[in-house]
Symmetry: C2
Subunit: 346 residues, 2 copies
Amino acid sequence: MTEQNIRIAIVGATGAVGTVALQLLKDRDWPAENIVAMASYRSVGKEIPYGDSVLTVVEATPDAFDGINVAFISADSSVSKALAPEVVSRGGLVIDDGSAYRMEPNVPLVVPEVNGADVEWHEGIISIPNCTTTPLAMALAALQAESPLTRVTVATYQAVTGTGASALQELKDQSAAIANGNEVSVEVYPHQIAMNVLPQVDDFQPDGYTNEEHKMINETRKILHLPDLPISVTCVRVPVPVGHSEAVHAEFANPISAERARELLGNFPGVRVVDVPNASVYPMPHTSAGLDEVQVGRIREDLSHESGISFWLSCDNLRKGAALNALQIMDEVVTRNRLPGAAATA
Amino acid sequence: MTEQNIRIAIVGATGAVGTVALQLLKDRDWPAENIVAMASYRSVGKEIPYGDSVLTVVEATPDAFDGINVAFISADSSVSKALAPEVVSRGGLVIDDGSAYRMEPNVPLVVPEVNGADVEWHEGIISIPNCTTTPLAMALAALQAESPLTRVTVATYQAVTGTGASALQELKDQSAAIANGNEVSVEVYPHQIAMNVLPQVDDFQPDGYTNEEHKMINETRKILHLPDLPISVTCVRVPVPVGHSEAVHAEFANPISAERARELLGNFPGVRVVDVPNASVYPMPHTSAGLDEVQVGRIREDLSHESGISFWLSCDNLRKGAALNALQIMDEVVTRNRLPGAAATA
């Protein structure tokens, strides 16, 4: 089975991540006849331009997955929970963007550059990490090659497309209302997001941390195979369309110089060092949007810890944070000949 | 000398901080005849409404400080350096908002709620901390009463008025341009700030930290009288008009429960606990703007450190971060009878 014969379903094809997934497939000249755009019944019949073709959205029902080799699901957890077993039972592979399966012991959680080999033990479902976890895990993996990680503290600056297309519209609408002196309407977030920042991403747990913060902690541990790594996170939403950023303070068993850290990060696949402070060259959401690589800069020795490294990263949350990572997982599965049924057709 | 007989000069009266200082004086019914609005020659003759009166801006020349008891200087460091000695030599007290004198050993750096007694040893100049340092020092002082601080890690979310009135205009102009589909013009910051975040506040030093980050570290140590406290900071500008926020991870010699931390912060003067996560009640720049108190929330035990507390704060950078703190320093000096010449007139 050559890769482009794989029949792909995009579940959530009209959403922010689904839209980028289709763009990435188009960039690969993936044939339109091997893509099925799926969404909820509300979007059925909607036509999505795809190169010279048009994809017509069909409803994501169980039977719609007949003959699908790979289903990318970017939708609510409840949708993943309902549909993923249907895909698997029909012989397809699920690559799930939601949190439903990430921490299941029989589901690999994969950033190919970090733990690509984990796809080997999938049982039909592979999860994509949270869009803040992926770039963090990549940068930490790069540095960890030099000395064992001992602790991580992170503060995030997350774009509204992490929430979805409706949040992007709300940011635009609120910004326009403020610019024109009109009243601001609040629907998607609990508070105004334009000209504001919200120290809340997802719901709160009784310990005072949000689900998002726990996701970052648990997922980073799983990807790095460090189940006890101490991590503390504060997740914050900022009025930015695309591009998650993170201020990271990482501690290691032994000191790593800033120069060596820059070298390790620069050599890591999928990471680009953007770090010329005196020329005001550093990662920003505005310049990371649309790029595939995780941008890392502000690399410096931690002034408060003898073997700490501080850095700043920005990453397109829809690409490497979601859709691109999903496609790369598919590539990894194909390379390792672990596509369901692949052994039979190879 | 009763307090309202004090003759005050506001240097930088047309700037973002000067404007708020005049508002605060008006709220106190400070008589217009005891206020001299000063600025550079470019603003001379400009009329600033002040209650039923009008203040006419005069140039901040040395002789303009004859008869001035207290000069608030909110201007470039070079202006402070040139004018402060002139005020002092004429018998006035300088309360300086800039960084020029903050780390001088004979200049107190004061947040009245934390180290008000330090005004006792002034020699004519008292400095106000950086607008990100003040709220941090207050929150840390509250917690430090329970157990010695051992380390602090901070990531900031700083409003554009920390830069000044021109930066606020740039944020507004850029936001309007984006809303209306026009080209964005960049002048004040090295990059677009609307719909973006910049991991740079002030210039860089050779160690990869910015001046702003070093200010926060050095000033926090000086105010808390902890010259060796390990602190690491990442300072970030966000597209917010007013209100600086900070994600803080603080470590102590002994564990402090989140409940006890909430109590300590709630009892500290000038701090308000805003912390009902399940109701999405937490500090935000949007709701801290215009308020005097530092808002602290997201108070929780640090999951990565056995005696760590994590929290989030927002503070009006023009009020407690600058103009209000300046007025409170004046109050502290008056209360302690340390106004120059006060002994003679008392």
